[in-house]
């Protein structure tokens, strides 16, 4: 069994994965967002590290597995240095105490392996990573050969939904709110600009669309919001689709995957399915529960790294806020 730890941003999460079967035996996540409500007007000098509280609480429940652990895996990049260090410190301490090897994991690769939780991996894959923090197109040939072939130049796909919802004062998170409101709107009511239409290389951009939506909201009544939501969702998705179509012309997809929190958007899923049809490409999706940050995906990739005996010496594992695949 492998114990895996994820603390790259808001969420503290630990999982136990069986090596031979890839079965997930234990998984728990504590969202810092929920925890934070108790702190109110926090005094910075006394501010607790929420991960430092949450991770030991979850680890306590993993004690029964300790004797059977073969390795400890931990996200070491990319993410927030101050939160990554909490997980890495715990992982190192466990490895020293239990005399087992350490495995450093790249968080973005972990997201790709969220596709393979409790199942065998399959490569090559073309992956669209769409979340609040990322909008990337990745060619994943194997565990070691992954290349970002297009990424956002400013805002992410998921973030643009959050901001559109915020500008209409509809709440957070914006993805499901906009998607739901858009169902009762006319996507053709407003013509919003398709970002980077004439751009030479394949890339994504949502900053200009955000400006256009803001201007629209400034001049519209509230009853127009469903139409604005529908028009915005359509433009945001068509931008992705336009760039995917351009990419597929030169690189026809065989197996295509959408990972990340925004992959829950049904309009996006339907449009990608339509684009894949002529290529007869298979579409893989991460189960919704594992779309956001979690230790199960870190445990899943760690199984592959363990099987290749890819361990990280305790003294040489450092955290890094940025990383390449």
């Amino acid at each position: 069994m492998i114990l895996s730890i994820e603390s790259s941003c808001d969420d503290s999460s630990i999982a136990i994965t069986e090596i031979a079967t890839k079965k997930l035996l234990f998984h728990q996540k504590i969202s810092q967002e929920q925890q934070h409500a108790h702190y109110g007007g926090v005094v910075p000098e006394l501010a607790s590290r929420l991960h430092a509280e949450a991770l030991p609480r979850i680890l306590e429940q993993c004690r029964p597995y300790f004797a059977q652990l073969k390795a400890v895996a931990v996200t070491s990049e990319p993410g927030l240095s101050v939160t990554l260090i909490e997980g890495v410190t715990m992982a190192k301490a466990l490895c020293m105490a239990l005399q087992i090897p350490l495995i450093g994991v790249n968080h973005l690769k972990g997201h790709i392996y969220s596709l393979f939780i409790e199942r065998e991996s399959c490569f090559p894959l073309t992956v669209l990573l769409v979340s609040g923090g990322h909008t990337q197109l990745i060619e994943a040939k194997s565990l070691d050969e992954m290349e970002v072939v297009a990424s956002t130049m400013d805002d992410s796909f998921g973030e643009s939904f959050d901001k559109a919802a915020k500008m209409m004062q509809l709440g957070y998170p914006g993805g499901p709110i906009i998607e739901s409101l858009a169902r009762s709107g006319d996507a053709k009511r407003y013509s919003l600009p398709l970002p980077l239409k004439q751009h030479s290389s394949i890339a994504f951009s949502y900053s200009g669309l955000k400006n256009a939506v803001r201007l629209l909201i400034d001049s519209a009544d509230q009853e127009e919001y469903p139409h604005i939501a529908a028009s915005f969702q359509s433009a945001a998705t068509e931008h992705l689709i336009h760039q995917l179509k351009r990419y597929f012309k030169k690189h026809p997809p065989k197996t295509f995957a959408i990972v990340g929190g925004a992959s829950a958007n049904l309009h996006l899923r339907n449009r990608v399915t339509e684009v894949l049809t002529p290529y007869k490409a298979e579409l893989l999706l991460t189960p919704l529960f594992y779309c956001s940050d979690n230790a199960a995906m870190i445990g899943r990739i760690a199984v592959e790294l363990y099987l290749c005996q890819r361990f990280t010496p305790i003294n040489s594992l450092h955290v890094s806020p940025r990383s390449k695949l």
Binding site: D10, Q32, A47, R49, G132, G133, S156, K210
Partner: protein
């Protein structure tokens, strides 16, 4: 001060000169007022080659050893502090914080961290108005 996008690099050089070796720049302005555009210009002035992307979701983006970009929009100051992020602002270099409020400015004062506040307002389709103050 009213500036167009192409004039921002000079403005950023002035901000760096006011801060000296480094410090915190709190950026205030509505959505789509041009806060990230200012950070992009700031990065160009520091010869950062990476694309500056939004830290709204990630909270912080780091560019080399000298430029840090934060966004408190999604989660607010309390969340930022509770993750232990305040110590990041002490690192040498320039720390540009979008959606920093009066409470953050108070903490920076209290902690003795060098800082500037830049208020941005959209005053024309191709220009923004910038107001810089020490507090």
């Amino acid at each position: 001060m009213r500036l167009r996008e192409e004039e921002l690099e000079g403005f950023c050089a002035d901000l760096r000169a006011r801060l000296g070796k480094g410090g915190v720049i709190v950026l205030q302005g509505d959505l789509a007022s041009g806060k990230t555009t200012l950070v992009k210009a700031f990065a160009r002035g520091l010869h950062v080659k990476d694309t500056v992307t939004s830290p709204t979701f990630s909270l912080q983006q780091c560019y080399g050893e000298g430029l840090y970009h934060y966004d408190l929009y999604n989660h607010g100051l309390g969340h930022f502090l509770s993750l232990g992020m305040l110590e990041e602002l002490e690192k040498p270099g320039y720390h540009l914080v979008e959606w920093g409020d009066e409470a953050l400015l108070g903490i920076l004062d209290q902690a003795g961290l060098a800082h500037l506040r830049v208020r941005i307002e959209k005053c024309a389709s191709d220009a923004r108005c910038y107001e810089v103050s020490d507090a």
